[in-house]
């Protein structure tokens, strides 16, 4: 709502010169922050002191409340309470009173219970009062003159009477303007010009810069998140009045529904995109801690893109089940670490993670040694998600491609890795393999150990698979129930895909599923599948239509 009216400070370029351009650029690229006022107490005094002013009464915020819409207001400026109508749930006595939000962009009804003292903002206001409010020096007088709105002054200039108001106050610009605000002389939107009446103008500027330095240092130590111990990054103030970084609070909610500071139950959704940031605190941070904030935002951005200092470990891994390219894998996400992982891949836009089987028998996994997971897996793409209010979620994913883990590490309790895509062998090799195997009967003796069907053509192998499925469908095998077909689709005709489909619908042992995943030849995969079929069929001599697990 506030249109940055400090045009009088234009032309002064000094106040942005000390910001590291590179960092700032990255920060702006994040789209989070775009202001840079308040680097210089001499030029930006009005804008800095405005940070303390209540938008309603224009006095320094007293017992500040931060409303659910993110705006802050003095306790005494809260509008008249009234009993809220037609609300029976949760029906707590404390939630029965409400008021209409006085901020034009909100105007919604807030519950009084959601507007407790903003602990951080209150402390920051105390610092302002201590540093600017009690300065009794009788030096550095400043003449503060109101700038009238040009339109308004044109309109009233006919009367000639309505002149600019002006005051002379001691203590330098910051102190002078703060004093006037405490006296109720300046509205939130009122702009002023300041002229130092001190004998030495330079001294006045030095004083203002010193005061600002102290102010900044004290405030910086107060605006620290109790979870990450860093400067608040996108602060959210809970209804119990405690402030945390948005991402920290999201992570807290993965583990507990209680406020870390006071243990009161937080009635917040697990993911907080709709939750308003604390606007005043954000303004304060951008204005008074811009460099530290820029640095912090950059560090966080880099950390989130990659696995902290280990830049190569960019692919998060989910150790759970066997998935295949082209096949869906629905997942229920409930563990805190995987909630975080899924949230991160959704936020960074990749919407992808690797799915692996656990290494249950502790087999060595190539160069990885005894990893807790099998080395080969499938990259999954998130197609849709359904969030539950308590933070759990159901996600629908589809296999994209297979991969092999080259290196791995742990980040925030889930596994991250450097992977290599696994492709099938080229068609030429595939053809050569088929040609070799189907012609073996001519060259070799009939005493070879492999069953004769291994010498069938690739298409014939597929046909065996298709016939098997058709037969099973005819006797209504439970694994071909319509729900399975609905989830995994009809039997594919593509020889490359058919084994993946069959392994998804047929109850097959985990190690067989894994063998299929590692296999890079279509023909070999079909042979594996026909192997299962032959085994099932041999069982079925004894137990008719039941489903055998290979």
């Amino acid at each position: 709502m506030h249109q940055s009216p400090h045009d009088w400070a234009k032309g002064s370029t000094t106040h942005t010169a000390n910001t590291d351009d590179v960092v700032m650029e990255k920060l702006l690229a994040l789209g989070e922050y775009s202001g840079e006022i308040g680097s210089d107490g001499f030029y930006d005094a009005r804008a800095i002191v405005r940070l303390t002013q209540c938008l309603v009464c224009s006095l320094p915020l007293q017992h500040p409340r931060t409303l659910p819409c993110g705006n802050s207001i003095c306790l005494r400026c809260l509008p008249q309470f009234y009993p809220r109508q037609n609300i029976s749930y949760p029906g707590l006595p404390s939630r029965q009173d409400g008021f209409q939000c006085p901020f034009p962009e909100c105007q919604k009804e807030h519950s009084v219970a959601d507007c407790t003292l903003d602990v951080t903002l209150s402390k920051v206001m105390e610092i302002f009062e201590r540093e600017l409010g009690s300065c009794q020096s009788e030096e550095m007088p400043v003449e503060v003159k109101e700038i009238l709105d040009p339109e308004l002054s044109d309109f009233e200039s006919d009367g000639g009477e309505c002149g600019e108001r002006k005051w002379t106050v001691d203590g330098g610009r910051l102190v002078a303007i703060y004093t006037l605000i405490k006296r109720g002389e300046l509205y939130y939107d009122t702009d002023v010009t300041c002229v130092s009446l001190a004998s030495d103008h330079r001294d006045s500027a030095v004083l203002d810069r010193e005061v600002l330095q102290t102010l900044k240092a004290k405030i910086t130590s107060e605006v620290e998140c109790q979870v990450c111990y860093g400067l608040f990054l996108d602060p959210i103030t809970t209804y119990c009045g405690h402030t945390f970084c948005r991402k920290c609070l999201e992570r807290v909610l993965d583990h507990s529904r209680d406020c870390p500071a006071c243990r009161r139950r937080l009635h917040l959704p697990n993911v907080l995109p709709a939750q308003s940031s604390n606007k005043r605190l954000t303004e304060l941070l951008v204005s008074l801690c811009s460099e530290a904030l820029a640095h912090r935002a950059t560090v966080v951005a880099i950390e989130e893109m990659a696995g902290s200092d280990d830049d190569d470990l960019t692919t998060p891994l989910f150790v759970c089940t066997a998935s295949y390219p082209g096949m869906p894998t629905p997942l229920h996400i409930f563990e805190p670490r995987y909630r975080l992982m899924i949230r991160r891949v959704c936020e960074n836009g990749t919407r992808r993670f690797g799915m692996l089987l656990p290494n249950r028998s502790g087999q060595l996994q190539g160069e990885l040694g005894a990893a807790p997971f099998m080395q080969y897996g499938t990259m999954l793409q998130i197609e849709g998600a359904n969030m539950y209010p308590d933070g759990r979620s159901d996600i629908w994913t589809v296999g994209v491609s297979r991969f092999r883990v080259k290196r791995w590490g742990i980040r925030d309790d889930y596994i991250v890795s450097d992977i290599e895509r696994v492709e099938d062998i080229p068609i030429l090799e595939e053809e050569a393999l088929e040609a070799l195997e189907t012609s073996l009967r001519i060259q070799m003796s009939s005493q070879d150990l492999l069953p004769p069907w291994t010498r069938l053509s690739t298409q014939s192998l597929l046909q065996i698979g298709h016939n098997f499925v058709d037969q099973m469908q005819a006797i209504s095998a439970p694994w071909l129930h319509e729900n399975n077909i609905l989830a995994f689709g009809q039997r594919p005709d593509d020889p490359a895909m058919f084994p993946y489909w069959l392994a998804s619908v047929l109850p097959v042992a985990e190690n067989e599923k894994y063998r299929l995943l590692v296999c890079t030849s279509v023909r070999e995969r079909l042979k594996m599948v026909v192997g299962w079929i032959k085994k099932i069929e041999s069982h079925r001599w004894f137990c008719s239509a039941t489903c055998a697990i290979v």
Partner: protein, 149 residues
């Protein structure tokens, strides 16, 4: 993997503003693993003893609590033979706003105020309830034998 800023800051602050009677030093090769000593509180059966503990910050710390265990043998109804500690803030009542410092202070307070009604070591707790003076004497003896070297 790099250490989160929070752990670095907490460690710095532990060194800069040490808590009287509590000492926590991270290992050089694993900054998540701390050697801890706690002095037995005055007017308790543990007075005069210096108790060694190990503290480990798990991967998702501070979302989950640190793992702490007594290494020095101690006779206490809320601490078992393996040195495991029964303390609410180390389990369900953990909050990310707590820290190594506050947790160690809680453990020190637990030494000063054993709670036999919420026991971890059942035999010790029972003795504490049946014959408190004798239990306290045993705790004192154990302190002398194991925690004063």
């Amino acid at each position: 993997m790099s250490l989160p800023k929070r752990i670095i800051k907490e460690t710095e602050r532990l060194v800069a503003e040490p808590v009287p009677g509590i000492n926590a030093v991270p290992h050089d090769d694993n900054l998540r693993y701390f050697d801890v000593t706690i002095h037995g509180p005055a007017q308790s059966p543990y007075e005069g003893g210096i108790f060694r503990l190990e503290l480990f910050l798990p991967e998702d710390y501070p979302m989950t609590p640190p793992k702490i265990r007594f290494l020095t043998k101690i006779y206490h109804p809320n601490i078992d033979k393996l040195g495991r500690i029964c303390l609410d803030v180390l389990k369900g009542n953990w909050s990310p706003a707590l820290q190594i410092r506050t947790i160690l202070l809680s453990i020190q307070a637990l030494l000063g105020a054993p709670n036999p009604d919420d026991p971890l070591a059942n035999d010790v707790a029972q003795r504490w309830k049946e014959d408190e003076p004798a239990a306290i004497q045993t705790a004192r003896d154990w302190t002398r034998t194991h925690a004063m070297v």
